[in-house]
Symmetry: D2
Subunit: 335 residues, 4 copies
C-alpha cells in the first residue's frame, strides 16, 4: 500500500488541537459569513501573534487566497514580481492570472527559492513601457518552495526597494508556521512593508483554511464582496476559523511545525543522499539518482522529483520518527 507520509505536507489529517477546536465550536447556532464569535476570536489570536492591528479573513484555499490577494492589489494590465519557482508561478494553473483578468507574473531568479536582491533590483530598474504589463506588486513566499526560510532582514531587503518604486507587497505564508518554528520573528512582520499576508492553516495541520491578513486595513473595504464573488466566502466560516483558535491559543501552530522541521532535519541527517538546498524548515530535497527514486517509489513511498530534479520529502505535524527511520534505512540500501 502506498505511503504518503513524505509526499506533501497536506497528506496528513488535522492536528489534535485543530480537531478538538472544530468539535468544540460545532454546537449551537451562529451568524454566517464571518460575523460569528469563533471567527472574531481566531482573528484576535492572529493579531496577538503578530502584535498588530490587522484585518483578518478566513478563506478555503491557498491557491484562491493568493489569487484573490494578487487580483486585489494589481489590475489586469499590471504585473506581479515573484520568484521563478514560486507556487503562484507554476502550481496554480494560472489562478492569479484568471482571478486577475490578465495580470502577469514576472519571474525573478535566486538560489533555493529566495529572490536574489540584485536580480530584483535589475527588474525594478527596467523602465516602464506602455506595451508591457506595469510592475505593481512583489510576491514573496516564506518558507519558500524549497523550504528555505527568509529572515525578517532578508525580507526587508526585498520589500524596501519594491515599496520605494510604489509596488504593493504580498507574502504567501502557506508554510509560515514552518518559518516561525525555524526562528522567523512573527512580530516583525508588521514592520516589513507587507500589505497582504496569506497565513497558512492547511499545511500547519488544520482542515483547509488560510487566513488573509491585511496590514493595510483600508484594503478590507469591499473585500468580502469580492471574496463572495470568487466563491471564497464560506457561509459557515466558523469551521475555517475554529481550528485557528485551537492551534494558536495552545501554541500548537508553531510547536507542531517545530516537530515537522525536526523530522526534516532528522531525515537529512540520516539520508545517504546529499541535500540540494539548505534544510531550514519542514522539507528536504535530496540529490538522488533517478534509479534510486524509482526503487523508492516501487517500495510504496510516494515521493516526487521537484522542479530542480531533486527528490522532495515534506514532513508535517504527523510525521513520525519511525517513518523517517524506515525511509532512511531503505534509502541507504539504494546508494
Amino acid at each position: 500500500m502506498a505511503r504518503y507520509d513524505f509526499a506533501s505536507d497536506n497528506t496528513s489529517g488535522m492536528a489534535p488541537e485543530a480537531l478538538a477546536s472544530l468539535t468544540e465550536f460545532n454546537d449551537g447556532f451562529m451568524a454566517g459569513y464571518g460575523a460569528d464569535p469563533v471567527s472574531a476570536r481566531a482573528a484576535d489570536a492572529i493579531r496577538a501573534l503578530l502584535d498588530a492591528d490587522v484585518e483578518v479573513r478566513f478563506i478555503y484555499s491557498g491557491t484562491a487566497a493568493n489569487a484573490l490577494c494578487l487580483s486585489w492589489l494589481v489590475r489586469p494590465h499590471e504585473a506581479v514580481l515573484a520568484h521563478q519557482y514560486a507556487h503562484i508561478v507554476g502550481d496554480e494553473v494560472g489562478a492569479p492570472e484568471a482571478f486577475g483578468g490578465g495580470l502577469k507574473i514576472v519571474p525573478v531568479p535566486g538560489p533555493s527559492g529566495k529572490i536574489d536582491p540584485k536580480a530584483l533590483q535589475a527588474v525594478l530598474d527596467q523602465p516602464e513601457q506602455a506595451r508591457f504589463h506595469a510592475q505593481a506588486a512583489l510576491s514573496l513566499t516564506n518558507a519558500t518552495e524549497f523550504i528555505t526560510v527568509y529572515s525578517a532582514d532578508e525580507i526587508a531587503a526585498l520589500t524596501g526597494p519594491a515599496k520605494a518604486k510604489g509596488l504593493k507587497v504580498h507574502l504567501d505564508g502557506a508554510r509560515l508556521a514552518s518559518a516561525a518554528a525555524a526562528g522567523f520573528e512573527m512580530k516583525r512582520l508588521k514592520d516589513l512593508d507587507i500589505d497582504m499576508l496569506v497565513m497558512g492553516g492547511t499545511k500547519a495541520g488544520m482542515l483547509t483554511s488560510e487566513a488573509v491578513v491585511m496590514f493595510d486595513k483600508s484594503l478590507a473595504r469591499r473585500f468580502d464582496t469580492r471574496t463572495k464573488q470568487v466563491g471564497q466566502l464560506p457561509s459557515k466560516v466558523r469551521f475555517l476559523s475554529a481550528p485557528w483558535v485551537g492551534m494558536l491559543e495552545s501554541g500548537a501552530w508553531i510547536s507542531r511545525a517545530a516537530h515537522a522541521n525536526a523530522m526534516a532535519k532528522k531525515l537529512a541527517d540520516l539520508s545517504p543522499f546529499p541535500a540540494a538546498h539548505p534544510v531550514e524548515g519542514n522539507g528536504v530535497f535530496l540529490k538522488m539518482p533517478a534509479e534510486a527514486l524509482s526503487r523508492l517509489n516501487a517500495a510504496g513511498w510516494a515521493v516526487y522529483p521537484f522542479v530542480d530534479g531533486s527528490a522532495r520529502f515534506l514532513c508535517s505535524w504527523a510525521t513520525t520518527e519511525e517513518s523517517v527511520e524506515e525511509v532512511a534505512a531503505l534509502m541507504r540500501t539504494l546508494v
Copy 2:
C-alpha cells in the same frame, strides 16, 4: 443575545453523522487532490443514491460550484436561463458571470420560485440574434429559493424543451436533501436530462462541502484543472468528502432533512401569520407586518425579509421543537 435558529439553514453546526465521519477519517496519510479512498467511498455513496454511473467532485462552496458548472457549460457570449429569484441571479455577487467571463443570466418568471413552463417556452422561442447572448443552458433549483419542491415530472417538463433546443441543464441542489425528504425521487434524476448537478452538503448538515455530479461523464475531461484554476480543488479533499460518507451511508442526509422539513411545517402550523408560499421543505415565508418583524428582531430573533417582502424562516437538522414553539408563541403576541 441574538438567536440565529431560523436566520438560515447554514447557522447550525455539523450533524453528528458528519462530525463523526470527519473525525473517523482524520487519521493517517492520504493522497491529496481527490485521489484518496474517502473521496472514492463518498462518490460511491452518491452513485448509489442516484443509481447512476456519474462523475463526482467535491467543492468547497455552493456559490463556486454553481459558477464553476455554469462556466463549464456556457461560454462568455452565451446565456443561462434561470428563475428570476434563483440564488445565482441575486445572491452570488455575479459569481457565474465572473467565472464565466461575461456570460449572462436571463431571468424567467414563475410562482413561488418555480419556472413557469410557458414562460420558459416563450424565452426559448425567441430567435437567436448576433448582438445578444445566445441561449446555451437552463439552470434549475430544487428545492427552490422559496423552498418549494419540483417533482421529477415538473423538472422534465422544463428540461425537455430546453434540451430540444440544444441547451445544457444545470441543477442547483443546495437544498436537494430537503427536496428528497419531501418526496423528490433521487433515482429519477438520471433520467431528467440534467448535465451537471450541484448536490448540497453545507445546508444538509456538513461543514462546507458541495458535490458536483456529472451525469454526462465526458464533462469530467480536464474539469480538475479548471477546478484548481478557480481555487476550488482542495488539497485535503478528504475533509470535504468524509461528511458525505457519514451522512449518506447512515441515511442521515435525508432523515436529518426530514426533521428540518417537519420543523418548518410545525412553525407554519403554529404561526398566526399566513404563509406566502407552499410549505414543502425546510422553510416558511410568513406574511408579517413590518412592525411585527421589527419586534421579533428586537426580541433577538435574527429573521430577515426576503425578496418578496415576506419574512423567511429556515430550519435545519438542528432546529428544535422548543425553539419553534418559542418563536411561534412570541409571534402570537405580535398579531
Copy 3:
C-alpha cells in the same frame, strides 16, 4: 433593393471633411500607437471644443470604449448605475461585464431614455451590503438611446448626488454631436463632475473612431497599457484621429449633426404617425401599427421596432430631404 437611410446613423459613409482629412494625413511615415502629430492635433481640437485640459485617446469602437472606461472606473465586485435602456445594458452582449471581469450594471428607470433623478436617488439611498455589488459609478448617455437630449443642468442634477456618494461618472457620448447640435453646451462638460467621456466619431460621420476623454487626467496613468491589452490601441492611430481634425477644425462635427437633427425634425413633421418621444436630436420614434411597419419594410425600407415597440428612424449627415419626403409620403399611404 433595401434602403438603409434610416436604419441607423451608422449606415452612411464618412462625411466629406472626414474623408478629406483621412486622405490628407495618409502621406509620410509617422510614429505608431498615438505618438504622431495628427493625433496630437486632434486632441488639441477636442480640448478647444471642451475648453478643458483633458487627456484624449482614440479608440476603434464605441462598445469597446464604453466597456474599457467602465472597467477602468469600477472593479469586478462593483456596480455601474445606468438607464435601463442604455446601450451598455442591452446592446453590447455584456461587453462592460466581460471587460470588467464581473462588474454589474444596475438599471435605473426614467422616461424617454433619461434617468429620473428621484429613481436615481432611491438607488443611491440603498445601504451597501457585502453580498451585492457595491455602487461605484454612474453612466449617462447624451443624446440618449431615444435620442432625447439632457441639458447640462439635467446632467448636473444626476452627477451631483452620485459624486456625493463617491461614485465615478462616465458619459457615453456616441451621439454627443447630435446633443451639441441640439443646444447642449460642450464647454459646460468640464464642470459636470464627469470623469470619463466617450465622444462619438462614428455616428458623427467618421469611419469608426471614438475619443476617450479624461477630465480627471490622473486616470490616464497606464491607460495605454490597458488599452493595448483589450485590443483597442491601434498601431496606425492617425487613421482614427485624422477624421477628428477635419470634422472639428471645420466645425462639421456639429454642423453635420445639425443637418441630421433637422432631417429627423422634418420626418416627424411629415409623418402621419405620432412620435413616441420628444424629437430633440437625429432620431424619431414613431407609433406605427405593426402592419404599417411591415409594409414599410416590404417596400424596402430597413427600419426596425425599438425596445419600446415604436419604429426607430435615425438620420445622419448623409440623410437627404428627398429620402425623408419619400418615406413620409409612403407612410401616409399606410395610415
Copy 4:
C-alpha cells in the same frame, strides 16, 4: 525631425489601392455589422486567393484578432503552444490571456523565430497533468517575428503532430503578405491543418484591418456575438473590408509586399553590419554595436534594438530606394 521609415511596417499610410477603394466605397447607405456588399466582395477575394471555401470576418486590430481566435479555440484552463518570441507572447500585454480568462501560452524555442519541430515534439510528448494547463492549441506566425518565412512544408511538419494530439491550430498572419511575396504558396494554406488564420491588412498597407479566416467553417457559429462582446464588431465594417477589395483584386496585397521585401534585401546588401537572421521578408536585423545604433538614433532614425539585441529595420510598401541608400550610407560611416 525623426524618421520613422524603418521603425516598423505600421508607420506608413495606406497604399494607393487601399485608399482608392476606401474612397470608392464611401458613398451610399449600407447595412452595418458585416451585412454589406463590400464585405461580401472582400471575403470573396480572400476565398479566391486561398482557393478555399472559408468563413471571413474583418476585425480592427491584430492584437485583438489573435486574442479573439485563441480564446475561441482554447478554454481558460488550456494552453497554447507558441514560439518563445511570438508576438502573442511578448507584445500584446497579455491580450490572449485576458480575452481567454486565464489561458496560458507555453513558449517553444527555435532559431530565428521558427519553432524547432523537435522542441515542439518534446512539448507535445509531455504527459497531461491535472495541475497544469492542458495543451489545446498551436499558434504559428508567418512571416515570423524575425521576418523569416515558413514554407508550407515546414508548417505541415508542425501542425501535423499538433493535430495528431488533438490540438487546434492558429496562424498569425500579420505579415502573411510578406511571406506570400517571398514565395509562400497561399493556395496550400487550406491543406495545412489550420483552423483559424489572422490575415494581416494593417502591415500590408491598409488602415487597420485584419481578416479572421476560418477554414473550419463550423467555428463561425456565434462568432459574431463573441466579436461584439469583445468590442471588435464594427458597425461600419465596410471601412475595414473596402481596402481588402482594392488590395486583393489588383494584386497589390502581394506586389506591394514584394516591394517591401526588395527594400529589406537592398538594405541588407548595402549594410556594413551583418544580418543576425536570414533576410526573407520585409525586415533586416543587423548586428550593430550599441554605439553605432545610438548614433543612428541621434541622427534622427527611429530604429530599435529587438529582443535578441540586434537592430530591427522594417520596410513597407512605402519604403523608398532613396531612404534605404541614405540610411545605409550613414551606417557605413558608423563602422
